[in-house]
């Protein structure tokens, strides 16, 4: 087991993947449409999106399990899409592990090494190393069906990394596990990434997992990329309402932007309620959707009849915070109050909602959106 510092590992161990105008069609249906993306060497990159967004399809294409309809995939500058999957040398971890049921754990992990005709001695050493790395030493002689789900998952990972691939593809590998186990394995996964230095392309529909693990994330929707950014970038500055709603939680309000000459810009919501907008916002009269995160919303007693306010209709306590659901003049909104706040709330209590001007994001509003 070799530990390498990240920068050196990135330079040698990971590969850079580029997608140029990649499309995949099934008859009339476009599973992927004109994807352009660059994944840097050594990155932990997540493809995030709901079912049917095309993220697993994209992974299949990288792995070579499927053919492109259009475009090219380059790995370290070389075209990869005309190389058959068994020659690409990428590690793949499947959601239901795809462990060979007729082989022992050891034989499973040794499989790629034997395919590369390594000497028996080296195979034995590397397999032992790999099993130690995923904390499964001593279980080598067992069969997959004798292991728990978490153990099977680790065997699948060990098998995928034992031949030191430059790229590791993971298709929702933690999806079948329960929450506690999933969080533990996420930590192990990050450590694995640091040790390996490989480029990891990770598919997930769980945005919390994506935020926790990734260097960068691409949010996909209906075969197209909505936004590519770092976790904090996606969280703080979502460029579309979809991203704002998919990553974390958001309140959405429809309104018209008003720039009065001397005052700060405001957004006029339904019923004439006005809320502040950030300084650099767009033009007067533009129809916008305003999104603001519940944890950015502050609760206070009502002081002004023109402020956004309403009765609390639901209180949910989650330990670290209290979530309040409020029926405002412009629809329902969520506000999350930290536990240390010391405030007590009651259902029916009328409160006002406020937030800092640059905590909200404005998106141009199209007719088909709310």
């Amino acid at each position: 087991m070799t530990k390498q510092p990240i920068s050196a590992a990135g330079a040698k161990a990971g590969a850079r993947i580029q997608f140029e105008r990649v499309s995949k069609r099934y008859g009339q249906l476009a599973a992927l449409d004109d994807i352009n993306l660059t994944i840097e060497a050594g990155e932990f990159f997540t493809l995030l999106g709901p079912s049917g967004s095309g993220k697993s399809t994209l992974l299949s294409l990288i792995a070579g399990f499927d053919q492109l309809s259009a475009g090219a995939i380059l790995v370290d500058g070389q075209r990869a899409d005309d190389v058959p999957p068994h020659r690409r040398g990428f590690g793949v971890v499947f959601q239901n592990y795809a462990l060979f049921p007729h082989l022992t754990v050891e034989e499973n992990v040794a499989y790629p090494l034997r395919a590369r005709r390594m000497s028996s001695q080296e195979v034995r050493d590397r397999v032992a190393d790999a099993l130690r790395q995923v904390r499964l030493e001593g279980l080598g002689q067992r069969y997959p069906r004798q292991l728990s789900g978490g153990q099977q998952q680790r065997v699948a990972m060990a098998r995928a990394v034992v031949f030191r691939p430059r790229v590791l593809l993971m298709d929702e590998p933690l999806g079948a596990l329960d929450r506690k186990l999933r969080i533990d394995l996420q930590v192990e996964l990050k450590q694995l990434h640091r040790e390996l230095g490989a480029t990891i392309v990770f598919v997930s529909h769980d945005q919390e997992e994506a935020l926790a693990l990734s260097d960068r994330i691409a949010v996909l929707r209906s075969g197209r990329i909505e936004q590519v950014d770092t976790p904090s970038g996606l969280y703080r500055h979502p460029t579309t309402p979809f991203v704002a709603g998919f990553i974390g939680e958001s309140n959405f309000f429809a309104g018209i932007l008003r720039r009065l000459r001397e005052a700060a810009p405001v957004v006029e919501l339904a019923s004439g309620i006005r809320v502040p907008a950030a300084a650099g916002s767009g033009n007067d009269g533009e129809a916008v959707t305003l999104s603001v995160r519940p944890e950015q919303v502050a609760i206070s007693p009502v002081m002004d009849v023109m402020s956004l306010a309403g009765p609390i209709i639901e209180i949910i306590y989650v330990g670290t915070a209290t979530k309040l659901l409020i029926e405002t003049q412009c629809g329902r909104a969520q506000a999350w109050v930290p536990a240390q706040g010391g405030q007590e709330f009651q259902i029916g209590q009328i409160v006002a909602l406020r937030w800092a001007p640059d905590a909200a994001t404005l998106h141009p509003r199209r007719c088909d959106e709310r």
Binding site: A63, A98, Y111, P112, Y143, R145, Q152
Partner: protein, 276 residues
């Protein structure tokens, strides 16, 4: 659940018992007759002896016929298993309509009346000199036996996790070696079962053997047929008893293979489902 639909199952059970007796009695009768010391078909037999078994073992004609049947049977098992397994895998990779048509075509020999097949093949083989040859007969039997292999292996493939093939490719194994290291080991029980049924189909087959296997290629069923037509020779009873034993052995073998097949394929999936 029986009671849900039949308040007094007495009549039902009586009918079932009668049918079971009907189905099994003939077999039960043949066995004692094979040990009969008498010459005819009298039942119950006058006395007991092993003379008919002796007659079977010592008569050249019977022994040769048995060996011929074994040769053909083994050849058919090998051919049908190889071709049928490949066909089942090929079918699983075909697109919708082509797959249905090919599947129906492969299975159709079971529906076509055997006599028609026999006549057609006899006609085909004459100019080719394949009548009366082991190869000719084996080919004919393969056509009838392959459906069993294809159906059995297709069922196994439907339970087979295709992702294992993808996994093997991602780990660097060529498609050719993947077949032998991953696919074949996991469908092997079904392949062997198909092979067993192919063997039995050939071993028992009468009609085609009558037409195509003329003169030199006398299979065991052919000898039994001739014997049954000419006079009732109790040697047939001895042969029959041995055949019954063979059938039971094959069925037991097939059941064992089925159990083992489910163990290898099914358990890993079941374990995961039980887990969270």
């Amino acid at each position: 659940m029986l009671r849900l639909y039949a308040s007094s199952p007495a009549l039902l059970i009586a009918i079932c018992i009668a049918v079971f007796i009907y189905l099994v009695a003939p077999l039960a009768i043949v066995v004692p007759i094979s040990f009969s010391s008498g010459e005819g078909l009298a039942f119950p037999p006058p006395g007991y002896s092993l003379r008919w078994y002796e007659h079977y073992w010592t008569d050249r004609a019977w022994v040769d016929a048995t060996i011929t049947s074994l040769k053909v049977g083994v050849l058919v098992a090998a051919l049908a298993t190889a071709l049928g397994t490949l066909a089942a895998i090929g079918l699983s990779r075909m697109a919708g309509r082509a797959r249905v048509v090919a599947y129906a075509f492969i299975v159709s020999p079971i529906i076509v009346p055997v006599i028609v097949l026999a006549v057609a093949l006899y006609r085909l083989y004459s100019p080719l000199g394949l009548n009366g040859s082991i190869v000719g007969l084996a080919l004919a039997h393969t056509i009838m036996a392959a459906p069993f292999v294809v159906v059995t292996v297709t069922a196994a493939l439907s339970r087979f996790d295709q992702q294992l093939v993808l996994a093997s490719a991602s780990l660097g194994e060529t498609p050719f070696r993947t077949f032998f290291k991953v696919t074949l080991p996991l469908i092997r029980p079904s392949v062997l079962t198909g092979g067993l049924f192919a063997f039995m189909t050939s071993f028992d087959e009468v009609v085609i053997a009558l037409f195509v296997g003329s003169g030199t290629v006398a299979t065991l069923p052919r000898m039994m047929w001739a014997s049954l037509r000419s006079g009732i020779d109790p040697t047939i009873a001895a042969v029959s008893t041995l055949l019954i034993l063979l059938s039971v052995a094959v069925l037991a073998g097939a059941e064992t293979l089925r159990r083992r097949g489910e163990g290898a394929l099914g358990d890993s999936q079941a374990a995961k489902r039980i887990e969270r």
